[in-house]
Assembly symmetry: C2
Homo-oligomer: 336 residues x 2
């Protein structure tokens, strides 16, 4: 007979089998749910809207001579981000490479080339977000942004550029996808240009802490909000410390953030000062700082527009999960 | 006085400082080389050719009603690949997620949706290749492919589809980028359709083991090669075992592989048999096999065309490194 500690009572065996079956059943149910998700009726309509929107964006870029470069997935240095998340990296031939959180620094580096003054990337970003963000309806832990940067241009130029991009995208989607929008029950209206521009101070005075979402819920058209304190790379006014030359575009109807960007810091001393202020670890950016220390980073302005968030708004879906074939919702197990 | 073992002789100190300086100098030189690479004169021309080629591809897809879905970067299951490489994965909430090596299985899963019969992804692939591939001139350890899959179509349909895509891309690039091609010293000629199609057996009989490269060196136009023994998912003829309904497109002038693809296996029993044959670990594909076991994967055909390799050919660059702003060459340290 086995010693007592190595035997299992009948009740434990029954419990184990029962528990095992529960797990198998749960896994099967999750898999079936994932299969049903891929096969959902709405997906065809959503993908056609997405394809039209992407085509309109590429056409707009091409017409405006913004060149497209290929995205980077792994890099020794990436965006530090300004909110809590898990890090994601791999080792390759002794070098630690981080999954791209955004291509901000690569965009700036690209524009060191004299022959290129407008660039964009269709850039997949991996941000291993905390599971708490699962229920917001607008967070994925991987998503794609169309990430744009213009050299020797200002906030004003960029706002005009994006206004035009959004209008031409909406127009093309409405023209091409009437049946799809109807099937989805979505009544999409064209925004009036120029889109309205608010100061964050003005909105926070009116709506308090979550002013951006409050304003999004009340709006009928996309709109701009200026001036947020965030990562070191967004330009702070030298004459008016605490004022940042950056912005968000918000979708209306409570759909929340569409685009985020700003004029960029380019002076080494400013970048160092702001890294210190934010307690950013400088050793994580020593290559970038090697370049800025030589004064090589040009003056640029830009921003990134989330594709899945745009498609969620265009198609009027409740959760961003529903515009993706293979959802990557924070904290959720992935089926495929 | 410190024990002898804990002191440093004068000569060692000198050596350490000298060695330290060498390292710093080497690192600085590498950084300066990376900066010069980004700033190279050719880059502007190359990015304009790339942008025109991408626009032509997106337009061709849109005209042919191939919908565009967004790429996946992390997934519990990815392409096993058929050549030696390092694995790349991260953990997130207890789940191991692999960096995409190709979206082959996701393409098949997408086409389970009845409302979608033609799909493509602009898909960044991470393949941590062995450093030996550094010198081939055509390998990057991350790159983007336009990855296409068509339901209820055959090899013949796909060949016709890609022939058309290549011709319209070449035409558009020639029309739009005359000055850039001239600056790059590239005389690009339009291929004659249909592109020639060879059997691998025919070419290997003629040129031996490296028949694909030998044929590429001798060719004036892109061409197809049929029938390669590779991963489990490419369809093997049931009546003629050892014959595979798959293919590569090769660039001419020695530029090597352009596209790789095939008709796909869809029957569970065939997939299992071929996994056994290739000693593929089935537990690494249990989600995929859960779907195939229910007979849900449709009959499809498709392939992936490497963007950077296409741009290298279009612009006539010697090494694929030279068409990227931020080169990811196997085994090479990354600057940015």
């Amino acid at each position: 007979m086995l010693p007592r500690s190595r035997t299992l009572s009948n009740i434990s065996v029954v419990m184990m089998i029962y528990h095992g079956r529960l797990c198998i059943t749960e896994t099967r149910m999750k898999m079936q749910a994932a299969i049903s998700h891929v096969r959902a009726d709405a997906i065809g309509h959503i993908l056609r809207v997405q394809s039209a929107a992407l085509k309109a964006i590429h056409d707009y870029m091409y017409e405006n001579e913004v060149v497209q470069a290929m995205p980077i997935i792994l890099s020794p240095e990436t965006d530090p981000l300004n909110h809590p998340h898990f890090d994601a990296s791999v080792m390759y031939y002794g070098q630690r490479l981080h999954l791209t959180k955004s291509m901000i620094m690569h965009k700036q580096l690209s524009l060191m080339n004299d022959g290129v003054d407008k660039i964009y990337f269709m850039s997949p970003n991996v941000r291993l977000e905390k599971g708490e963000l699962k229920e917001t309806g607008r967070h994925l832990f991987e998503f794609t942004q169309v990430d744009i940067e213009l050299r020797d241009r200002t906030k004003k130029d960029f706002i005009e550029f994006v206004d035009g991009m959004l209008l031409s995208t909406f127009k093309f989607v409405k023209k091409e996808c009437g049946e799809d929008l109807e099937a989805l029950g979505r009544d999409l209206k064209l925004p009036k240009l120029p889109l309205r521009v608010y100061e964050s101070e003005e909105l926070s005075g009116k709506y308090g802490e979550h002013f951006d979402m409050a304003a999004s819920e009340r709006a009928q058209d996309p709109f701009w909000i200026l001036n947020f304190r965030r990562e070191f790379y967004d330009r702070e006014d030298k004459e008016r410390r605490g004022y940042y030359h950056n912005y968000d575009v918000m979708w209306p109807e409570g759909y929340g953030e569409a685009l985020s960007g700003g004029e960029r810091e380019w002076e080494h001393s400013e970048i160092l000062r702001k890294m210190d202020e934010r307690k950013t670890k400088k050793e994580a950016f020593h290559k970038y700082l090697h370049v800025t220390s030589q004064g090589l980073i040009p003056q640029t302005v830009g921003g990134g527009l989330g594709i899945e968030r745009m498609v969620r708004f265009l198609t009027g879906q409740k959760h961003i999960r529903d515009v993706t074939l293979f959802p990557r919702v924070p904290g959720e197990e992935i089926a495929f």
